[in-house]
Symmetry: C2
Subunit: 340 residues, 2 copies
């Protein structure tokens, strides 16, 4: 390289947040203290003042931040910290244990894909179970399916439901459907009590496998799901990011391959406010009538009434359904090796 005078080779010492601050995950910095004592001001808490920053050991070394207009709610439930804030460009935002779960601007991608990938892959789903999903967004999407007669939901944290009803009425609207039966409780225990072969589809809308959702990524849970499904029934479960969590995904795929004797597939979608900008799903079926997830047979996006409605599908369509199963080579290699 030429030694141009405009070029300055720099090797500056960088001030780093302490280990402890990093392990604690994110907080919203509400004020800045400059006390002249040499103590670090509170804006050193790895947070841009006036912004919410998402820092977690699940995605070390990176953080996505949203500018905060106003904090609308801060609470601590029996299970997790709950924050709602008005962001400047993503609408209202729901945060659980420091991790963004929903923004009004991009929630359509997650809710529509986690719901319609499984429900459009089988003919005439009638009984659907949602584990987690306390915001109501998955219920809203399940309710689009006119064949569905019964929508059971088991959410562990009542505060999530309350907060969603208060601050996210366009998402919590899912609870208003008369087919919905709500249970507040542990999804693992709920599933164990379900009679064999009850559901056509189970959707597991969980947070990350650190905290209350941990068991939802383990083999005994998948065994309960398989038992609760009819032959040829389907499950769709949140399954992390191919860019960040291939080691977790490898384990989930291996577990599912042992448990689900129909088919086992990985699909993904883009969600800008999730770490790495993508989130994936495991889509599996039980032994029985075969399910070809990659070719949807229940073409909800052709429903003219739906698409003339107040809330047409914003993200999902049949092309993006099939495309969601196409993986980058680095991910395909790992997942194919575990899926066989």
């Amino acid at each position: 390289m030429s030694e141009d005078s405009s070029v300055v080779a720099a090797d500056l010492p960088m001030k780093k947040p302490s280990e402890e601050e990093e392990e604690n995950g994110s907080t919203v910095a509400a004020s800045v203290e400059v006390d002249g004592t040499g103590k670090e001001p509170s804006c050193i808490s790895a947070v841009i003042p006036g912004w919410f920053s998402e820092i977690s050991p699940m995605w070390p070394g990176e953080a996505h931040s949203l500018k905060v207009e106003k904090i609308l709610f801060q609470g601590k439930s029996d299970y997790q910290d709950v924050i709602v804030f008005q962001s400047s460009t993503y609408g209202k935002v729901l945060v659980l244990d420091g991790v963004i779960q929903i923004t009004e601007r991009d929630e359509c991608a997650y809710q529509e894909m986690i719901t319609h990938l499984p429900l459009c892959s089988i003919p005439n789903p009638k009984k659907v179970l949602v584990i987690g999903g306390g915001d109501g967004g998955v219920l809203r999407e399940v309710a689009r399916h006119t064949s569905v007669e019964q929508i059971d939901i088991c959410e562990i944290d009542a505060m999530v439901i309350d907060v969603s009803k208060q601050f996210f009425p366009e998402i919590a609207v899912g609870f208003e459907d008369p087919r919905v039966n709500l249970t507040i409780g542990d999804g693992v225990a709920f599933l164990k009590a379900v009679p064999v072969a009850t559901y056509d589809a189970v959707i597991v809308d969980s947070s990350d496998p650190i905290g209350p959702a941990q068991e939802l990524f383990e083999k005994p849970f998948f065994e309960s799901v398989a038992k609760a499904l009819r032959p040829g029934g389907v499950v769709c479960t949140q399954a992390e990011s191919i860019w960040l969590h291939m080691h977790i995904i490898e384990d989930i795929v291996a577990n599912c391959r042992q448990v689900f004797k129909g088919s086992v597939n990985y699909a993904w979608t883009t969600v800008p406010t999730y770490p790495s900008g993508v989130i994936g799903f495991m889509l599996c079926s039980t032994e029985g009538p075969p399910v070809d997830f990659k070719h949807p047979i229940n073409l909800i996006d052709s429903d003219e009434n739906l698409n003339k409605s107040d809330r047409p599908l914003r993200y999902y369509n049949r092309e993006i359904h099939s495309a969601a199963f196409c993986l980058p080579s680095f991910a395909k290699k790992v997942i194919d090796s575990k899926a066989k």
Copy 2:
């Protein structure tokens, strides 16, 4: 909502970065001053201390940050600010005018897709022009195509090339291919001087349309590209994010529809360190032998020699090629309306 005692409704005043700080875009905070004068410490510069934060009017209200291990280079070329740093989890990072261009961890997605989407859509590409792309990554990918006889590149900023050769040897390796002819200069002027119908493919690997790349998003530039392409030749140009820039994309699509009389398509890929986690491409062909971009005919991913090589394809394959053209409904609606 129940008035649980654990629930605290908060309405905290938030300290915001000044307007000026936001307009200035990103900087790397190299130190924290706490001087007891009541002056804001420098960590108020909207940056997590010890981290690089990407803030721009192109994506207001959000910022992605990477933890910095060491700044390796800081310079100012005739065209832009250039920074290279070692990040803690994304390898080395190249930043131009405050915007992340490349990280070692995810560069494969961008470089492979912007190159193989056009080159795998036509039979036996022989002459290829790259505009921009001074890091060499697109050259590296073009060089995988054994049919290619001539690879011309016109990059405006020599410092980008020098920095890439020094810090990103696995990317700059593209310059070592004997088929490469480098011109340092203005891509707009270069294209105007190209004889009619010279190239089979043109790849425009530009930064955002603010700064030196602005003209590369305008109609006169597309007209020069069309003139430089043979009948049925193809162009692939960086075309922003469907989540952030639909207004820019609408204009680009409308311009391309006027200029390119073959086909006009939009495709996209995931890149975790780009804003919103996705980046798109315009893929157009000139009048002549028809090009069906959605169904690749030049199956580079079936090349066994390539896939046994030191550097097999990490991201691109024929399934992800076709999937890249499937758009979420909100984007499809806008793009289809402009493309007709």
